[in-house]
Every structure is written in structure tokens, then in C-alpha cells.
């Protein structure tokens, strides 16, 4: 049993006291920041990223994974308790979860969410352990043409999965790709788009863009409407689902996990779509569908498991190919590069301890969240109850210090201001930031792979379609795109995002 011995290796790495400690710290900090209204996982990770720089590589990645799960869990907590989802994928959880909370079943809703997530996380840990090595084996044979086509597929998937207009998703991808090229061209040493500013010579740090677009832009948008939260849940009681709840959540959790695992592996990041899809599915086929809209357990268990499964499966393209499926994974890749690890298929063979340690820590992190967060719910409720006008100056402080500490430059703070303003403007124009961030991180990689592919083929772009794997990937991308342009699917896509 290869997979078991690999997982054992991973556990022996992840379960050292030191790594357990950092996993715990990560989960705690991630939840603490993640419960704050209006902060999704990407903003949370961006804010906490600088705190991991001082750790050894394995510990820092384990802590980051902990932050990620904590942030996700925190997001659902806020969605259930105050109906203020911090990210798109917990929007669905809020639908039924918040109604359960309104009917005095907040504790049960939280527990169902936690248990469904934990189950999905456990299944996906095994799925990743099962599928990552063979995928990495395939990926190690990838040449530049295959990589380039794979990234095209990833970008197309992110366009298809983006909310709102496809056209603007395209625009944002191009914009992101261009922004990614700012700085010194690795091949010729030419300074591109740096306006003679020395701080731009190394390019723009991804954390600055993420913090500006997701952190600052989001805060300005929240200030638009004033404080409209109703923190009705002062005291959460009954933190254990009834036998009836357990019985009813089994099937939806299984279905949600399955849906999430399939959609999550898409290189464009399908976690949000998975939770919308799982909710819509339950609403159609559940025995208790008449209860939907009044606080149905199924409506919490299904999207939560789908969301967690999807989020976890997005580690697969990151770990095996070095390609981020969503902004969160892009931050992970950024963190790996800072630690001196070049993400890609070789990580598995060169650093098995790191690879399997991170995978094992996923499961440990999920377990910690269930064990820790339900008892700590009192603290989270207190954090949620902090009025927003006291909260956001604090968030700004951590953003500003975090960005400054990246390279001790005030210039980075100014850049964050620029992206914060842009983020708000784009939000008003319904242009999604996620495809832009994906383009931003992929831009330099795509250029490099395209350059190498064309160098090998002596300038013949046909190489992208004559290599079989590359051709398949491009055809897939093309089909995805075609699918959206077909009117009936386009409508379904709109419905999926507007459900509820």
C-alpha cells in the first residue's frame, strides 16, 4: 500500500509538536481573521502571509494551510450567524444556515457545517494522496507547449466560472497578464512598464495586489452601506446536531463532497460553483425540499461539504503542476517561492516529506477546526459583534503593516492604495478580480513557456496543436468557451450564480 506509507510519512512530518503547533496557530489566526465580516480567505491569507515568512518551509506551508481552512470555516460562521458571507462560496451557506440561526438553531447549523466540511476534507485528503502522484508523473513529461496550453485552459476556466459578464472576465484576464509582466524581463533584462521606478524592477508583489483588491477595495465597498448587521445571536447554544440532523445530513454531504471533488479539480477553481451546484441539486432532489427557505439542514451540509471539497481539491493542480486554480492557491505558490521551493511536479520527487507533510496537515487542520472551533465559538461571536466602524481601521492597520513588511518599502503601501482604488472601481463596474489575479500570477510563466515552445519549434505556433497533450488541453479550453457561448448553458450559468 503505497498511498498508506506515503500518508504515514506525511503524518510523521505533520504531527511533530512544532508543526502541530503552527497548524494550530494557523487555524486559530485564520478563523479569527476569517470570521471578520467581509474578509474572504484570499484577503485573510494575504494579511497573514508575512507572519509565515520566518518559519522553515514545511512549517510555513502547514501554517498557511491551517490559515486557509480556518479562514474558510470562519467565513461560514459569519455567514450563518450574521448573514454576511465573506466570499462567494459561503453565500449559499448563508441561505439556509442563517435561517436556521434565526430559528434558534445556530449551534446546530454551525455543527452541521463543521462536520460536513470535516467529512469532505477527510475524503479529499485521500483523493489527493491517490491522484496527485500519477498526475505529477504525467506532468513531469510536460514540455513548454503543454504547460502553456494548460495555463490557457486554466484561464479559460476562470473566465467561465467568473460571475457576471464573460467579456469583462476576458478583459480582467488580459489586464492581469499584462500587470504580471511589470518588471525585469528574465530573458533580455529589459525593464518593462516600470516607469524608471526601482521598486518595480522586481515586478509587483502578488500580496500587494491581493490585499488592495480584496482587502482595501472590499472595505470601501462595505463603507458604502453603513453598518447593517443584525448580530442577533448573542449566545449560541446546543452545539450538537440532533440524531435527526445527523440522519438528514448524510446523503447531502456525500453528494456535496462528490460534486465538490469533481468541480474543484478544474484549473479555474470550482469551489464557488460547486457550492451553488450542490445547493441547487439538493433543492431539486431532497426529500425535505419543501423545508428549503426556512432553514433546512441539507441546505447547509451540501454546500459546505462541496465548498470544502472543492477548495481542497484545488491543491491538486497547485501541488502537481505548480498552477494556481484560484487566488488563494496563487498566494500559496507565492509563499512557496519565497521559501525557495519551485512548485511543480518535481516537488513530489525532490521533497516527498514536504509534499506529504502538507497533505497530511490538511486532514489534521480539518480535525483541529472541528475540535477547537466549536468550543471557541464564544470568542468568534465576540469578534463578529465588534462594530464595523471599529473593525475596519484595525484591518487597514494589518494590511498596511503587512504590505510594508514585504520588502520594507513605503512604495508598496502606495501600490496597495492604487490597487485598492482599482478594486473598488472594478467592483462597481461588475468586473471580477479573481480572473485578473489568476492572470497576474500566470503572466510571466505563460510568456516563458510560450517563448520556449516557439523557440523549439523555430517560431511555428502549430506546435501547440500538433503535440497531442497540448492539443487536447486547447480543445478542452475551446469547448469550455463554446459552452458558455451556447445560449442555454449561458442561462444555466447565470441561474447557478443567482440561485437564491
Amino acid at each position: 500500500m503505497d498511498i498508506l506509507s506515503n500518508l504515514w510519512l506525511g503524518l510523521s512530518v505533520a504531527a511533530t509538536p512544532l508543526n502541530l503547533w503552527w497548524c494550530l496557530v494557523g487555524c486559530f489566526l485564520g478563523t479569527a481573521i476569517g470570521v471578520l465580516p467581509g474578509l474572504g480567505p484570499a484577503a485573510t491569507i494575504a494579511m497573514l502571509l508575512p507572519a509565515t515568512f520566518g518559519l522553515p518551509p514545511v512549517s510555513s506551508l502547514i501554517m498557511l494551510a491551517g490559515i486557509f481552512y480556518g479562514a474558510q470555516y470562519g467565513g461560514s460562521t459569519t455567514a450563518i450567524l450574521v448573514n454576511l458571507p465573506g466570499e462567494t462560496s459561503s453565500v449559499v451557506t448563508a441561505l439556509e444556515g442563517h435561517r436556521m440561526a434565526r430559528r434558534g438553531k445556530a449551534g446546530r447549523a454551525l455543527a452541521v457545517a463543521a462536520i460536513a466540511s470535516f467529512f469532505a476534507g477527510t475524503v479529499c485528503t485521500f483523493l489527493i494522496a491517490l491522484f496527485a502522484p500519477p498526475l505529477a508523473e504525467v506532468a513531469i513529461k510536460f514540455g513548454p507547449a503543454e504547460y502553456f496550453s494548460l495555463m490557457v485552459l486554466g484561464l479559460v476556466a476562470s473566465i467561465v466560472l467568473a460571475h457576471g459578464s464573460i467579456l469583462h472576465a476576458f478583459g480582467m484576464v488580459f489586464l492581469g497578464l499584462l500587470l504580471g509582466l511589470v518588471g525585469t524581463d528574465v530573458n533580455s533584462g529589459t525593464q518593462r512598464f516600470s516607469f524608471g521606478i526601482s521598486e518595480l524592477a522586481d515586478g509587483i508583489n502578488f500580496v500587494i495586489v491581493a490585499m488592495g483588491m480584496f482587502g482595501i477595495g472590499e472595505i470601501i465597498a462595505n463603507l458604502e452601506s453603513g453598518d447593517t448587521r443584525d448580530v442577533m445571536v448573542k449566545k449560541v447554544t446546543g452545539l450538537w446536531p440532533t440524531r435527526e440532523d445527523f440522519r438528514r445530513m448524510i446523503a447531502p454531504t456525500l453528494r456535496g463532497t462528490a460534486l465538490g471533488s469533481i468541480l474543484g479539480i478544474l484549473p479555474g477553481g470550482g469551489a464557488a460553483l460547486a457550492s451553488f451546484g450542490a445547493y441547487a441539486l439538493e433543492k431539486k432532489i431532497s426529500k425535505y425540499r419543501h423545508e428549503f427557505g426556512t432553514g433546512a439542514v441539507e441546505g447547509v451540509a451540501a454546500p459546505e461539504s462541496a465548498n470544502n471539497a472543492g477548495a481542497q481539491m484545488s491543491f491538486i493542480p497547485m501541488l502537481t503542476l505548480g498552477i494556481p486554480a484560484n487566488p488563494v492557491m496563487a498566494l500559496m505558490i507565492g509563499a512557496m517561492v519565497i521559501q525557495g521551493i519551485q512548485p511543480g511536479p518535481s516537488v513530489l520527487t525532490d521533497q516527498p516529506a514536504l509534499f506529504w507533510g502538507v497533505i497530511a496537515s490538511m486532514w489534521i487542520g480539518n480535525l483541529m477546526l472541528v475540535v477547537l472551533n466549536l468550543p471557541l465559538i464564544g470568542i468568534w461571536v465576540k469578534m463578529i459583534s465588534v462594530p464595523y466602524h471599529l473593525l475596519y481601521p484595525m484591518i487597514l492597520v494589518f494590511c498596511a503593516i503587512g504590505v510594508y513588511s514585504l520588502s520594507n518599502a513605503a512604495f508598496d503601501v502606495y501600490l496597495m492604495v492604487l490597487f485598492g482604488g482599482l478594486g473598488y472601481v472594478f467592483k462597481k463596474l461588475d468586473c471580477e478580480p479573481a480572473p485578473m489575479l489568476l492572470g497576474f500570477i500566470l503572466g510571466p510563466m505563460m510568456e516563458e513557456f510560450l517563448r520556449r515552445a516557439l523557440l523549439l519549434s523555430k517560431g511555428d505556433p502549430g506546435v501547440l496543436v500538433t503535440q497531442p497533450i497540448s492539443a487536447v488541453l486547447l480543445v478542452l479550453a475551446f469547448c469550455l468557451l463554446l459552452l458558455v457561448l451556447v445560449p442555454s448553458f449561458g442561462r444555466t450559468r447565470e441561474q447557478a450564480f443567482e440561485e437564491g
Binding site: G171, F174, L390, L396, A400, L454
Partner: protein, 165 residues
């Protein structure tokens, strides 16, 4: 015909299109100074040109579409909170190396807090601010070793940093 008013049916498409067009055109213009190369040996100007071309194309489509296909309104833009929050951060970046972390943090929090309608001065919030500043100085500067001056060059002659820790 000539003086028929041209109506923007979709303001969101209009403005987004203009932004794409402006950035794309600027990128093409700036990028034209970089060596272009040929497909087999892409120069530093090759890929940016392709991308900027794509951006311009999207911009043109969005711009034209905004006159044809009706879309939703943009809604009110929160100019005041936006300007206040953004300038609070600019102020932080400006003050940090010069006046030091303590002053920069106080400026950032007080200025940005003014963006909220609920803003008023109360002693509990001021106390919280003091705790926050102390926390940041201890955790980030002393704990994590981020090289930020607690007291900047402006104030150093009056309040030597060595007094503080």
C-alpha cells in the same frame, strides 16, 4: 441624424471599456520601445503587445456594446469613504519612514475611521487605539523583527527610540 443624441445604454460596459482601452493603448505605446523579435525568438516586446492587443479588442467590444445593449446602472459611488480610506493609507506610507510607526498608525486609524458615519471620539476607542499601537510595536517590530522605525527621523531628536524599549 447628425444631432441625434447618442445614448449610453450600459454605463458599466462604457466605463470598463474605456479603462481597458486606455490601459491597453498605453501598454502598446510603452511596449513599442521594447525589442519585438520574431515568434521563434520572442523579444521583450512580443508578449506584451499580444496581450495589450487583446485588452484593446475587449475594450472596443465593451465600448461599442455599451451603446447597443442595455445594462444596469453603476449605482452611487462612495467617493468620500474611498478618498478617506485611500489617503489614510497614503499618509501611513508617507509618515512611517519619517515620523515612525506610532505616529503613522495613529494617523492611519484616525483618518480612516473618519470615513464611517458612526465615527465619533470616545475614550474607550482611544484606549483601544493605544493598545493597538502598543500591540503592533511589540508584535511586529520586537517580535517578528520587521525593520520599521518606532520613532522616525523627524521625531528622533525629541524622543530618542532608546527610551522606549
Amino acid at each position: 441624424m447628425a444631432d441625434m443624441p447618442i445614448k449610453i445604454s450600459s454605463p458599466k460596459d462604457f466605463w470598463a471599456g474605456l479603462i481597458y482601452l486606455a490601459i491597453g493603448a498605453a501598454a502598446i505605446w510603452i511596449g513599442s520601445h521594447y525589442r519585438f523579435g520574431v515568434a521563434g525568438r520572442m523579444g521583450p516586446g512580443y508578449f506584451p503587445f499580444v496581450l495589450a492587443g487583446g485588452l484593446v479588442a475587449v475594450g472596443v467590444v465593451s465600448f461599442v456594446r455599451s451603446f447597443v445593449i442595455p445594462g444596469s446602472r453603476i449605482g452611487t459611488i462612495a467617493w468620500k469613504p474611498m478618498l478617506i480610506v485611500l489617503s489614510a493609507n497614503l499618509l501611513f506610507g508617507f509618515l512611517l519612514p519619517r515620523a515612525g510607526l506610532v505616529v503613522a498608525l495613529v494617523a492611519l486609524t484616525l483618518v480612516s475611521a473618519a470615513a464611517s458615519r458612526e465615527f465619533r471620539f470616545e475614550w474607550r476607542a482611544s484606549l483601544g487605539l493605544g493598545v493597538l499601537v502598543l500591540f503592533c510595536a511589540l508584535v511586529f517590530v520586537k517580535g517578528l523583527g520587521v525593520p520599521m522605525p518606532i520613532v522616525g527621523s523627524w521625531l528622533e531628536p525629541y524622543v530618542p527610540a532608546s527610551w522606549l524599549f
